[in-house]
């Protein structure tokens, strides 16, 4: 069975290292198909950031079609890694390679 979406986001960051929200959105679309909506993934990432499981490592302002959009690059924190272990989520290479900073 697939992981709950928030758990999948943590696992993606643990395995692949820091990622932009757009990249995580594309990954979630590939994993969950039409279930994921753009706003829901961004909100889940912000909830994870507020709780200290992930943190912003950089941000940028993209302008397309006269509208600007704020994007964040996220990385897993040591607390996020610990919470993943507590909840039985596979921490991938972060468990061995120390991806979380």
């Amino acid at each position: 069975m697939k992981l709950p979406q928030k758990g999948w986001l943590l696992t993606a960051l643990a395995r692949g290292g820091p990622a932009w929200d757009e990249e995580l959105q594309r990954g979630a679309n590939a994993e969950y198909g039409s279930e994921t909506r753009r706003g829901a993934i961004r909100l889940a990432l912000e909830e994870l950031a507020a709780a200290g499981l992930v943190q912003h490592c950089s941000e940028r302002l993209d302008s397309t079609g006269g509208r600007s959009r704020l994007s964040f690059r996220y990385r897993l924190t040591p607390f996020g890694l610990e919470r993943m272990r507590d909840t039985g989520l596979d921490t991938g290479k972060a468990m061995h390679g120390g991806e979380a900073q």
């Binding site: 069975m1 697939k2 992981l3 709950p4 979406q5 928030k6 758990g7 943590l10 969950y32 039409s34 279930e35 909506r37 889940a44 912000e46 909830e47 994870l48 950031a49 507020a50 709780a51 200290g52 499981l53 941000e59 940028r60 302002l61 600007s68 704020l70 924190t77 040591p78 607390f79 610990e82 919470r83 993943m84 272990r85 507590d86 909840t87 039985g88 989520l89």
Partner: protein
């Protein structure tokens, strides 16, 4: 706050934080509003059969009736949450979260025990053995329990301003309900201690529910989380509490359930109460993820104001003068909390590494 000379990126960041903070407080305010409305159908239910036929002196049967009422209510809440998550396309995520019992959903099971049987049963004891005003006043202290547990358990930050706002809101609630206590407290009642114990249980139950659920929401969605929590609550009432009341207490549980379901007016009030409760709780859990347990529960405490306002509208009985004082205090406390800088709500927890693995 960014100045005129700040870059477009800094301004966008500031707007982002402000939007997040406002959404968090907006969800908490929805909680308070729906919780306040909930009191109208929940109170009206006691005036319908089979509940209206139970004498006040028959405390045991009234507790059993409350358990039956809460069980049907929990099933209806579960139905509304299924509809909500079905429309949002979150039912598959609900199933994925529920089956991970050891890692995630056990916390929702614990939250349902804290907020269901512990808090509701405690509140019933407080109502039955001391009085409804005492029960309401003791419940107002649950944000303190929630904030302290969240602080000790996973280092949730509470700024001085947030703590001050929380204290003013609680004081406002006590002013609203407190004067009624003078006519209610009767030290000579031999079982009054049971009511006091119940009051403590309700504050502990609802306060700890927020902290425990928030722990599970670290790795799961709030909409899905509240659905899991009510799934467990339905199971606890169905498999533990009601069978125990029927077999050990000898109460007519099946008859009470049948009579409730056979009375369309009682059923209507239950469905209306459940609709309010389902979306009240959804908003409650969403606010925890954005502004933290302490702030979410403190703003949720504004239900005290909304409840009295809606009851006044439906019964056409104006509340006493001290309601205005309590209203001013609770609104002032809310503004103290809203005025907290968005930056201080951006990170809800201290970044220090956790001690031990089981937090």
């Amino acid at each position: 706050m960014p100045t005129k000379s700040s870059t477009p990126l800094q301004r966008a960041l500031a707007r982002h934080l402000l939007r997040k903070q406002r959404w968090g407080f907006a969800w908490a305010l929805w909680t308070a509003l729906l919780w306040g409305i909930w009191y109208v159908p929940a109170t009206a239910l006691w005036f319908e059969t089979p509940y209206s036929a139970i004498p006040l002196a028959n405390t045991g049967l009234r507790v059993a009736a409350t358990a039956v009422m809460t069980w049907i209510h929990a099933i209806a809440v579960f139905g509304f949450l299924s509809l909500w998550n079905g429309v949002l396309g979150r039912l598959p995520d609900y199933a994925r979260t529920l089956v991970r019992f050891r890692g995630i959903s056990r916390w929702y099971a614990l939250a349902s025990l804290c907020g269901g049987p512990l808090a509701i049963f405690g509140s019933c004891l407080a109502m039955g053995f001391v009085g409804p005003v005492f029960a309401a006043v003791t419940s107002l202290f649950y944000p303190v329990v929630g904030a302290v547990l969240a602080r000790l358990w996973y280092r949730e930050r509470i700024s001085t301003r947030a703590a001050a706002g929380m204290a003013i809101i609680i004081l406002g609630g006590v002013v609203i309900y407190g004067p009624g206590l003078f006519g209610e407290l009767d030290e000579r009642h031999p079982l009054a201690w049971l009511g006091y114990l119940g009051g403590v249980m309700s504050a502990l139950g609802w306060g700890s529910e927020g902290a425990v659920a928030s722990r599970a929401m670290d790795v799961s969605d709030p909409d899905v989380g509240i659905h899991c929590r009510f799934s467990f609550e339905v199971l606890f009432w169905s498999l533990l509490v009601l069978p125990a009341l029927a077999w050990l207490g000898g109460f007519p549980i099946a008859e009470l359930a049948h009579d409730s379901l056979a009375n369309p007016r009682a059923l209507l009030w239950i469905v209306l109460a459940a609709a309010c409760h389902a979306y009240c709780y959804t908003a409650f859990y969403k606010s925890f993820s954005l502004i933290g347990v302490g702030r979410g529960e403190a703003i949720g405490n504004l239900y005290a104001v909304f409840a009295l306002m809606f009851i006044a509208v439906f019964t056409l009985q104006l509340p006493a003068w001290y309601f205005i004082v309590g209203l001013v205090l609770t609104v002032a406390g809310s503004f103290v909390m809203f005025s907290e800088p968005a930056e201080s709500v951006a990170a809800l927890r201290d970044p220090a590494p956790a001690i031990g693995g089981g937090q």
